[in-house]
Symmetry: C2
């Protein structure tokens, strides 16, 4: 079942709400909080819409990102997309170098940095912070192996 707000947002835009776009939106909503690649979106969207093509997926994801419905960023050498979540605005990613798990960090220390830069004449619009770490589970596993 698709979030009416998002469907409406598209109807109100210059874009048309097609069954393919609806299917892709549903996939993104159903996977809230996950960072899906175009390939993953394609596979999941095909459950609902078996004939959908990759070009449509890329085109739709880019439209949704330009409408601030999705956030597009680069992980693992490819673009990944996640549903924007208005409640948790400033979140950063912490990527486990061992298992690849992606956790999120809510801390908002970057405002201080951004204010500093604004004083120097920059106008900061966005940022992207990735932390590379071993996650608690992998740290534990490494300790167990060492025993």
């Amino acid at each position: 079942m698709l979030d009416d707000n998002l469907a409406q947002k598209i109807k109100d835009s210059k874009y048309r709400l097609t069954s393919q776009r609806e299917a892709i939106l549903e996939v993104m909503v159903a996977n809230r909080g996950k960072h899906l690649s175009a390939e993953e979106v394609l596979q999941k969207a095909r459950d609902e819409h078996p004939l959908i093509g990759m070009a449509t997926v890329y085109r739709t994801l880019d439209i949704l990102a330009s409408m601030d419905i999705l956030h597009k960023s680069m992980f693992d050498d490819k673009f990944r997309y996640e549903l924007c979540d208005n409640d948790r605005h400033q979140h950063h990613h912490i990527i486990c170098l061992s298992c690849g798990a992606i956790a999120e960090v809510q801390e908002d220390l970057l405002h201080i940095l951004e204010e500093h830069l604004e004083k120097k004449g920059f106008r900061v619009l966005d940022h992207d912070l990735k932390l590379y770490a071993y996650c608690p589970e992998c740290c534990q596993r490494q300790k167990n192996l060492a025993r």
Copy 2:
């Protein structure tokens, strides 16, 4: 003229110091502080070594990055490489959305964030912060146009 330290570092490693590797190192040293793509490195390296191939460039850049001589990161949808600078360790990138200029930020606010994560059981090894902004020059140009 190539930094003897770096040439020596390769000689001391399991890798051989070939004329191609030397040429690539020289390019990176001559462009200290810049973020070069493989293609750009290839073009510059060919001034010195006209027959060098792209595969060699990629292979060498990856070796140098694995030795912590270069830092590899993704900008503008491709990998870019820059010489590691021991004096300015924690630096972040601020990318102008208008002219594409890349400035660097030395502020080191991330330690606080990393300590917080360490307490939660992560072991943080590296981070990558990109800020997207309009640079002071482009801000000024926009103001001038508006007049």
